[in-house]
Symmetry: C2
DNA sequence: TTTCTGTTATATCGGCTTGATATATCGAAA
DNA sequence: TTTCGATATATCAAGCCGATATAACAGAAA
């Protein structure tokens, strides 16, 4: 089931590996930093967190009802009023729920990252972004797989363009041509990455390799 | 409801405007010709057709149980055996259901095409592909809106990149840089299109404008 | 002081897409 | 004759998106 590895869960785990965060913070980080790469909606983020929590991959570290720095206005009732935990337990409007990654989550992160199933554009971008946590062979393989996939897409598009004798409407041709050129330049970029990876694997200790925690890697 | 205009329905209507087709043929056309632009799965295509049919935008033109050219083997039972319409009516395994577009569908096509709501990458590509059916002002507006959107995305990404004093992991920076450059080149492409559109609007009769059926346009 | 507004924060819903799978027909090759 | 691959339609569980609801809180305006 679970068609291919879920990029969103991968990103969430990747970010939580850096530091504990609550949902809102996660989304902020994603849109501010990775906004060009991916895009998250509330309707997928919170269910994703819930899923990860159910799997034991993350757990609520801290659930503070946002006690502000109490200004010294004398004692106005002791513990600062009711903790109105809104009907069902921990959550509540402004009651932050800060998540942390568990060992299970860390293992899941590496397992998802090294999953060799075919990936789409977004999946590729996300994995590459976290590629410093992959081991070099897998990383190289991922790049080559992606290259082959794009190559085949472009070729097949050109093939079927050559096959038909007539041209489509001019705007269709326009768009197709642009997509072919975008893919071609993606291809060149990936080729360059492959070249660098390959050469830094021959002589290690290059700063292009940024792997320190790779041995934690759990290959399911 | 119906968050923004549905690109898939737009494409289906656009293709059916050219000629009647059944689902399988539609998917073939889409993946062969527009494969670089979009991607359709069975699980969305058939429901989309059903939706369009329910709206009266398309209708089954012909539902032939695939009678092959009868080879003259004398009379072997008359009308060529049972039409096993598989349990519930018209459909059945190889019983093609050929769809045609209706007047309502044609109106819907123009309405969706000219919908000015904010669109994502895919939505933009699809609309641009059918842009010969838009009127020139809307087309130009769409291009400018898209340009502004990308411009803002890139700027905001650069802004938040400049703001933080430290760099992310090298692979993240790598990916971000690539996306910025992709977006920048998209931007240049769109600027060029805008330039051409604008100049062909000043002096009409340029072959860059391919509008003949624009007056059918129904602006809801 | 109170009110109003904008940001922080979590959650849910309907509608749609996806990838997988099931079913069945047909033509042609083996 | 059987087998195989292409044609053809359909459905399902999971997941995502955009919209919307709810509420706490900070600070400015009134």
């Amino acid at each position: 089931m679970a068609a291919g590895t879920n990029s969103l869960e991968l990103v969430v785990l990747g970010l939580l590996k850096e530091q504990d965060m609550h949902g809102y913070e996660l989304k902020k980080r994603m849109t501010e930093s990775l906004g060009l790469i991916m895009h998250v909606s509330w309707g997928s983020l919170y269910p994703a967190l819930a899923r990860l929590e159910a799997k034991g991959a993350v757990k609520a570290v801290e659930a503070k009802p946002a006690i502000p720095n109490i200004p010294m206005t004398g004692s106005l009732g002791g513990e600062r009023a009711v903790f109105r935990t809104s009907s069902d337990g921990l959550r509540g409007a402004r009651n932050k729920k800060v998540y942390g990654i568990t060992d299970i989550g860390s293992a899941l992160f590496y397992q998802m990252l090294n999953d060799e199933r075919e990936i789409d554009e977004k999946g590729f971008a996300v994995r590459l972004a976290f590629a410093s946590h992959m081991d070099p062979e897998k990383r190289l393989k991922m790049l080559k797989d992606r290259r082959d996939l794009i190559l085949e897409k472009v070729r097949s598009s050109r093939r079927s363009a050559d096959k038909r004798r007539f041209a489509f409407e001019p705007y269709v041709e326009l768009v197709l041509e642009h997509f072919r050129s975008t893919n071609t330049s993606d291809l060149a970029w990936i080729e360059e990455l492959i070249r660098k990876e390959a050469s830094s694997m021959q002589r290690p200790n290059t700063e292009f390799l940024v792997s320190q925690d790779i041995q934690d890697n759990i290959n399911s």
